[in-house]
Symmetry: C2
Subunit: 439 residues, 2 copies
Amino acid sequence: MEKNIIKPKTLPGFMELLPDEQILFNEMKQKIQNSYEKFGFLPLDTPIIESADILLAKAGGETEKQIYRFMKGESDLALRFDLTVPLAKYVTQYYQNLSFPFKRYQIGKVYRGEKAQRGRFREFYQCDIDIIGDGELSIINDAELPSVIYSTFKELGFDKFTICINNRKLLNGLFESCNLKEKSADILRTIDKIDKIGKEAVIKELKDEQIEDEKIDLIMSFISINTTVEETINELEKLNINNETFLLGLDELKELVKYIKIFGVPETNFKIDLTIARGLDYYTGTVYETFLDEYRFLGSVCSGGRYDNLAEYYTDKKLPGVGISIGLSRLFFQLTYNNIIKANKKSTAEVLVISMVEDFSKPAEIATILRNNGINTQIYAEQVKVKKQFKYANSLQIPYVIVLGEDEIKNGRVSLKNMITGEQEALTIEEVVKKIRNI
Amino acid sequence: MEKNIIKPKTLPGFMELLPDEQILFNEMKQKIQNSYEKFGFLPLDTPIIESADILLAKAGGETEKQIYRFMKGESDLALRFDLTVPLAKYVTQYYQNLSFPFKRYQIGKVYRGEKAQRGRFREFYQCDIDIIGDGELSIINDAELPSVIYSTFKELGFDKFTICINNRKLLNGLFESCNLKEKSADILRTIDKIDKIGKEAVIKELKDEQIEDEKIDLIMSFISINTTVEETINELEKLNINNETFLLGLDELKELVKYIKIFGVPETNFKIDLTIARGLDYYTGTVYETFLDEYRFLGSVCSGGRYDNLAEYYTDKKLPGVGISIGLSRLFFQLTYNNIIKANKKSTAEVLVISMVEDFSKPAEIATILRNNGINTQIYAEQVKVKKQFKYANSLQIPYVIVLGEDEIKNGRVSLKNMITGEQEALTIEEVVKKIRNI
């Protein structure tokens, strides 16, 4: 067979990490998972490939263009582009087996064939939680999610972040009261851009959409409310908008704010931001976005909201839900690229066992004792100079090295070297176990 | 927009679990990961999609037929069908950034468009570890892997399993000594079937391959050696096969056996099985298969071996390696389908907080305190009868329920119900935390 060397490369837009980065990434993933489970969310792991007609039941436009879709034999298949559509499918399919409210988390890869650019990935992790009700779902659930966001980002090591909340009913009610209901989707999309394009540009776009000045004034005075949670609610009441949807939204917002505090989110970590609309038509009530205060340029790091109908394309059952999502791959990239976090662990091992003698019996025995005592231990079993073995320990930044030479074996002790301080001690294996366990 | 209801379904050959099964699956996955990390293996998470020319550099025949391959724009893409080819790509690509021996684990989904049948999946998890040397790799590494297998299956709750080892050089040397080198691949494939088709059928197939009777006799007397580890080595020596490859294989086997024991694998959990060849041309030395003694019909649950050249299609560097793989999806299916293991946890929460009063402030406060004390806690926030709330707790088998009624709130205590014993106590929240933490 002729040998044909192919230069290996990873596809553009696909994240592939070095081990130290992967350790950090996995730690973050694990923290998110632990945090989700702390609130009683159940794990799901749906397939990455689904039947195209299922995945695309609702999609259209941009999504359909980005999707990875292909034939395999007679089957028209597609890779999931989010975790919400598979959830809708799942909840409908296993409805009889689930207990409602159904709380699930899913952490998994999704696929979008976007134009590759820095920080935009075609394969990326989403970390989603959703609470799905059967027919109804209390607003208390909307108030619990900021508590999950708070707990998760604290766990990830952040203190200064702001969970911004809003309610789509306020915006919708405002539009209804102005007779702008038909244009509401367009207006929402415009408002949603205020952070990027600024107030003046938004006003200009609204004028371009043929909206009367006094209505633009009302909309702008609405979205310009930017004060404390309590004051915002006062100001909203003072707008005196006598529209049913608006008043319902205001009531929901009041309930939400009341319970967010009780669920332990400090007032420094959340606020009402009436400019948040989350462009999607999907959301019908509460909406969330989360910003790292010192790195607001990263955009929202955790978003979501309330929707009336999770699975309307699959069932006539009304399944309202509320959920949030963390785009972990993008977040990880941004945090490392901007030096906000940094990989600081190059090994999963706490100890490396190396040998100065040819027979590896004693090192193997020592490594086994350490492992049996719950200490992650690696061996270096190649017959090379001790210097090279230490170089290996250094390159992996393994905190402790156990060296075994003839003397050590004779004395029934090992030489334990702390690779950070350089300190070296001759200890029995029991002493080593005790010492490392206590750290 | 007209509503078009699509009946949701999951593709055949794609595993999708209910939450209780998913909890069990995730527990197994976590145990495997912990066990791999105990030996210092580093995590990797390569993309599921790769360039088709990269993935198929080596493939051919069956693999190529099964692969999910498709165009996206101008790109010829494929889904990975194992984790070894991506590893070969990775090690070549990041060679300069890695420390050798490079020990990595990867737990992830792979894709094969096999004929769907029970227990055969088109999307399934593989849990792989490999140790890759730069130029050389000591046989000690081959001896460490059975220790990883042992530790992992013990962790998974098994006691009675046998790690079967062999060395391909013994077989190859045997064939060389019989002048059957050219036919060795065919013969290996035939021998590999002995477990399924029996000795007589193997002899018949070898006769069909035009092999002389005396040679078949030697081959059969070789693969019929089935005794203790020590005796097997004696018998192999007594065969008196004076072939360099054979003798090298015998030396390697002796070393392997010596160190496997030192690495803590009891003699009851491993044996030499000279019939194991692992059909693939890939392996060049040590090979492993693992069987659950009481469920041998499941086939090997963990297999692998030593190979000379991980990445010969991507680089001229010689990168020998040794690795094993657990096919977790298939294993999980078999274990649950045959009632060997059973999902026994329907919730991630230890406590459910329910309320008999309309205002949810106190329940929200209590839930938050429990969570802040590290106790996984779920709330039931819907306004329904208490009976229905208890039904919910029961359906999710949440071990404890905290009930808050007007009396409890007045007294500053909560009612904690043990859902297994039915026992109910009025406790302060501090007492609840203490009690649940101590369990």
